[in-house]
């Protein structure tokens, strides 16, 4: 085990440090970090900012917004808590929260803080959440990271995560709302810094970790990764398609062809769109109009497509092969 000290409070830099260890450090053994942030909202990788965050509140209070590379829901963090990161060389691709959570909860128990694990791999105290975990994997490595609330601003947490339900957009990962509590109630005389120091010392002792600092050159690389991958990441998201079904194919001689479609309650085509870089005089609107209302059966769809392609052939494409994209 290697412990990498990380004193930055800049969430983009700290996520970039994780990514650097995952993709460029070529770790041969597990590594961990414990770190903190200025007031920050962290979205899961496939979440929509507007679905999860009161952006007026976060803007007024200069709360940083960032998108994780891991999954799961949105959380609030500040210097009243800390984040932990555990990176493990692993080629199995299998999801495993147990190793990381055992390491963390054992260390917490030793320093006098008692938690339990729930079904979502969160740490709870009396049913209230004190820590959430998420992971991402790259070939050869698994990253498990999470939060620990010690003396966080729970008022800002609640207000930041109070999104307008009218703005909810489908086809996104939605957060699961949970009530939270600070761990300070179990060690009321400690400052957050004392808590963090005690936790780090216990983790280093229990794992016999070697301490390794990032070099100046590594810090430069990490800053570049931060700028490229994390600064402004909350606003960017891969677009979802407006159709329930979509297929995209590459056909030699024809090029890229993409079909999106919806079906109605009678299993008929309700809406359809054809895109691509294929060569044809085909009028997409006429093509789409001809297909709407057609029963979603291969023979019926093929018949309509044969009629359309007779009027305007697509080079390299038959009606039968085009019909495959609607099934």
């Amino acid at each position: 085990m290697i412990y990498f000290p990380l004193t930055s409070l800049d969430v983009s830099y700290n996520f970039a440090a994780e990514y650097y260890l995952m993709t460029q450090k070529h770790l041969q053994e597990p590594a961990f970090m414990v770190w903190a942030t200025t007031p920050t909202i962290m979205l899961g990788k496939y979440q929509e900012l507007e679905n999860e965050v009161n952006t007026q509140f976060t803007s007024e209070h200069h709360i940083a917004l960032v998108r994780r590379l891991s999954g799961g829901g949105t959380i609030y963090t500040d210097t009243g808590g800390c984040q932990f990161t555990l990176i493990t060389p692993d080629n199995s691709g299998q999801i495993d929260f147990d190793d990381g959570l055992s390491l963390l909860s054992d260390a917490l128990t030793t320093i006098g803080i008692h938690t339990k694990t729930d079904s979502r791999n969160d740490l709870i105290v009396d049913g209230l959440k004190v820590s959430g975990s998420a992971q991402y994997m790259t070939p050869g490595y698994r990253l498990h990271h999470g939060s620990l609330l010690f003396d966080a601003n729970l008022d800002w947490l609640a207000k930041s995560l109070h999104a307008d339900p009218i703005k909810l957009q489908a086809k996104r990962i939605q957060s699961v709302r949970q009530r939270t509590v600070n761990l300070k109630s179990q060690q009321p005389t400690w400052s957050t810094e004392t808590f963090k120091t005690n936790l780090i010392n216990q983790l280093v002792n229990s794992t016999h970790a070697k301490v390794q600092n990032f070099s100046v050159q590594e810090s430069k690389i990490i800053q570049q990764l931060a700028d490229n991958l994390f600064v402004n990441s909350a606003e960017s998201q891969p677009k979802t398609q407006p159709y329930d079904h979509q297929q995209k194919v590459y056909v030699k001689g024809a090029g890229l062809i993409q079909v999106g479609y919806n079906l109605d309650n009678h299993d008929q085509i309700a809406a359809v769109q054809l895109n691509g870089d294929f060569f044809s005089n085909l009028e997409p609107q006429q093509f789409e109009k001809a297909l709407v209302g057609t029963p979603h059966q291969k023979s019926a769809v093929t018949t309509v497509l044969q009629q359309q392609l007779q009027q305007a052939p697509i080079v390299g494409m038959t009606a039968e092969s085009l019909a495959e994209l609607l099934f």
Binding site: G44, K45, Y46, L69, S70, G71, G72, G73, G93, Q94, I95, R120, N121, S133, A134, Q135, Y136, M137, T138, P139, A170, K171, R172, I173, P238, K239, T240, Q241, Q246, Q247, K248, V249, Y250, V251, G255, L256, G260
Partner: protein, 80 residues
């Protein structure tokens, strides 16, 4: 030439429903064994799924935001 089907592998012991994240390879791209094809999310974990074949990705059967189940056909690869 052979068309090989790519099915959604089982990644989580807890769940068979995966949120389809994004495609890393596009139809027409050459792929090698071990290249990352696509990304999915389940149980708060982002996983990258690698190709088991050398060839050309010919079709994507699902898109960002789709719910896919273990075993679903997600792509085809034309192998030499």
């Amino acid at each position: 030439m052979m068309i090989k089907e790519v099915h959604m592998p089982k990644l989580s012991p807890k769940s068979d429903d995966y949120f389809f994240g994004k495609w890393v390879k596009q139809p027409g791209d050459t792929v090698k064994t071990g290249d990352v094809l696509f990304e999915v999310e389940t149980d708060k974990v982002i996983s990258q799924v690698e190709s088991q074949e050398d060839g050309v990705l010919t079709a994507q059967k699902v898109a960002t935001g789709d719910t896919t189940k273990v075993g679903d056909l997600v792509a085809t690869i034309e192998t030499a």
